[in-house]
Amino acid sequence: MNSGPLLFLGLLFTMACSWLTFVMGPQLQVGRMQPATNLVSQELYPNPYEGVSGQGSQVYRANGCVSCHSQQIRAKSFGPDMAHYLAIRPSTAYDYLYDQPVLLGDQRIGPDLAAVGLHFDRAGLLQKLYEPRLSAPGSVMPSYRYLFETRKITFAPSTNALALPPQLAAPAGYEVVPTPAAEELAGYLLSRRQNVFIYFAPPPPTNAPATNAPVKK
């Protein structure tokens, strides 16, 4: 090899550049973040995963939800996210402080899920997972029926059983109940709210102009 040292230095430089940009830079920017103050309750925000929603994030990953769904509400100046998904404020880095990994997503084939917990209840979410086209005809979302179990009613019907229309209902004497994975996923989705004003993301002034232009002083 004629120019080994040069090659080595070139490789080192390339690796160093990407390391500085993708590891060092973000670490300096957001690596030492601490929970912020919730402006309403004066408590800390965010909370760590509630209940089974931590396991739910793994179900979310395992089923590839992140390939079609994002979890990021952009500010008004970047698009109509806030109006589409009925969010009260754009996402901040604080919203993801305890997410491991952060599941921002890079596709918007399905709707954004950053505030999905505000617009669904548990039963609605489970029905959506079982058959998405019940509540949204024409949806391209796959149905996740393998997260549910059709089982025989032994004594009394389960309180967790899905309420399904006749064409999907289980045969007489049977019921459709969510597996633990589906319960965890629903818990995770219900915990996606981002509905709290924090010190670093206060409500903007009500007389704010429609544009994002800086305020002239």
């Binding site: 402006l39 100046s77 754009p90 670093f200 903007p204 002034p205 994002n212």
Partner: protein, 200 residues
């Protein structure tokens, strides 16, 4: 006949020559970079993790916060009290026998002018002092080197407004003035404190 042009014969290897970049492209690139810098200056919020759209600067975030200046001072005072003063004066401000006199309803704490209590906290206090009709004779260390003017003012404001106490807030300017006139050793009990003016 020989041509200076690269050979165009079929099967010949194509070769690349050199050409100068048009100066207008360089200028356009420069203008784009210039505009980009302005755009970043305006919208990046210094890449600070505390500043998010639609806000551009830290001042805008603070200005839009419903948290008032008083609330910030209260929080700071509460924190510092909790870290330091609470050990003797207790979280309730009621003090403890043999440790510290009460702050709740204390005439020294609630004096309309905070000069005397500021001297006591900053320089320390030793010797007899009467608080709410009870005689105390203990020693409090000097705290002036442990806190900035802002923190000291926040602590004094906190003890003057918490637990039902109602006395005007303390400004950092007063702490600065008290700090400017050094006192040798701790204040000698209530007698020396009483000789001080109530207000500076």
């Amino acid at each position: 006949m020989k041509s200076p042009e690269p050979s165009r014969e079929p099967g010949a290897e194509p070769t690349a020559g050199f050409a100068t970049v048009p100066i207008c492209l360089v200028l356009a690139l420069g203008a784009l970079c210039y505009w980009g810098e302005f755009y970043l200056d305006r919208n990046s919020g210094s890449f600070d993790e505390h500043i998010y759209a639609p806000f551009h600067t830290w001042d805008e975030v603070v200005a839009n916060n419903p948290v008032s200046e008083e609330q910030v001072q209260y929080n700071l005072g509460k924190l510092k009290f909790h870290q330091t003063c609470e050990l003797c004066h207790q979280a309730t401000g009621l003090g403890q026998d043999g440790k510290a006199p009460p702050l709740v309803g204390s005439e020294w704490v609630l004096a309309p002018g905070p000069n005397r209590i500021a001297h006591a906290v900053m320089n320390g206090l030793t010797g007899p002092i009467t608080v709410k009709g009870t005689a105390w004779n203990l020693t409090m260390p000097a705290w002036k080197d442990n806190f900035t003017d802002k923190e000291m003012a926040a602590i004094l404001t906190y003890i003057r407004s918490e637990w039902g106490n109602k006395a005007p807030a303390v400004k950092a300017d007063l702490i600065k003035k008290v700090r400017a006139e050094p006192h040798p050793g701790p204040m000698a009990g209530g007698d020396e404190l009483s000789k001080l003016p109530e207000n500076l």
